[in-house]
Symmetry: D2
Subunit: 150 residues, 4 copies
């Protein structure tokens, strides 16, 4: 098994990611453009979930499933940005801690890869809202990368 280190430099731009996502995962975009890839950098990606009534729960808070979907999307984006368009990379684990009740506003998700190996990528995602004193949620997640694409 080759174990050469992967590059920490992204190999896809935001525009290329957007195009790939639209083509390969039209369902993930929900046809509503609420989730936006804002930036990619060395081992990082930043996404934004725009506020929408449909993600609200009673009490004016964002639903847990909406945050989990955002985290999964953010991990997928940061992995693809660094290994290239591999539709078959799959989440094997996602663990989320809900930390603060989010308000009715955008959520920003900062994904960072802690490991980018030949078979597994592991990262975390910190979700914040403007004006809140600390993250609303923290996620760690593992992706399995198909062999032959390493």
């Amino acid at each position: 098994m080759p174990t050469k280190a992967r590059s920490t430099t992204p190999v896809m731009t935001v525009e290329e990611l957007d195009h790939f996502m639209d083509t390969a995962f039209p369902q993930m975009r929900d046809g509503d453009g609420l989730t936006v890839i804002e930036a990619v950098g060395p081992l990082t990606a930043r996404l934004r979930l725009r506020f929408s009534e449909k993600n609200l729960r009673p009490g004016g808070t964002i639903s847990g499933p909406a945050m989990m979907a955002l985290a999964d999307y953010a991990m997928y984006a940061v992995v693809l940005a660094h290994i290239g368009p591999v539709a078959l990379a799959v989440t094997t684990n996602l663990s989320i801690n809900f930390l603060r009740k989010p308000g009715p506003a955008d959520i920003v998700a900062e994904a960072k890869l802690m490991k980018l190996g030949n078979r597994l990528a592991v990262g975390d995602v910190v979700m914040t809202q403007e004006g809140l004193d600390g993250p609303v949620a923290h996620v760690t997640s593992t992706y399995s990368i198909p062999s032959g694409k390493a």
Copy 2:
């Protein structure tokens, strides 16, 4: 802090849960009735996510976020079934392992409480599909129960 044991017998029926969910969390039902509470029992609840094109991903598989939403709903149902209608019980942690690629069919979620304390409830959810040799996903999750409702 009172630490008397909670009962392991459900205090809400499927019909009462359905009614509470429809009233308190209309958004969770998506207006589409895809997620059905099928049964509650001592420390357990069984839910079904009916197959729908909208949860599909390329390759004919069910999306990860759809499974995470199902697990969150199943945990919420089994917690409420045993503590009564407390809209403010909140997920603090959810950890999912994706085990097998699900096919384009219903997913059954069996939620079981491993601990039902005064402040925290911890359970797991096993998700299966008919005909598959092993679960498609396994979830553990923790709920925080507001004091005063204990």
Copy 3:
């Protein structure tokens, strides 16, 4: 990548596991024989941590690290029992929920594989004590299996 199913039948006996552990991981045995492999079965293994003063914490409870070490050992045993003596199989994730305060007594750990793939094995471990009404801890864990040993 070959994806033939692995057998669900153990390929090592308790005695073979014991011998391999003693040879390959003398440190894990602590020289004290407190952790005992009691049985292996289809996708399962049962271990016992004998009670010892050295694992006690104030209040007469077993320490968290002692339980985490037991869970790691139990997962390793159930994985090896089914793939054979592969010293290089490594834990990639271990997540533990502490559910009840254990008393000063033995802990039994029942490990079960939920997935035994070519690259990853995923299982859970339920830890109990005689006389307690529910598990003291629940663990899920993922092992990475070196290629070429599949």
Copy 4:
């Protein structure tokens, strides 16, 4: 339930933590002084596990249980440093991702609280070794704080 914010400033010094640990948890210190609290700061603590043959595994790597024990200790230290000497604070969840094979050297653990609530504290711990290009392990953990001490 009072929900006043806790202070983000430590209320115990390294010396006070050391003294409390020695008194309340002599077993955690192993009588060997391998685990050292090096610093506390706003919502943070830094610990060091000194290299010792007894934590080695075959291949010259540090054992998983030694890293889990370090993480648990680091979380306990950062929680106590901010809420004061409360021996009854207990870990409810600990999830570790093993990222890189550590070498035969010290491990530094940087614990950071992401939430310090009245009932729950949630933090993560990044473990590194000098000279390695990325963390050897990443942990998230939740502590339950007894009421009446909030």
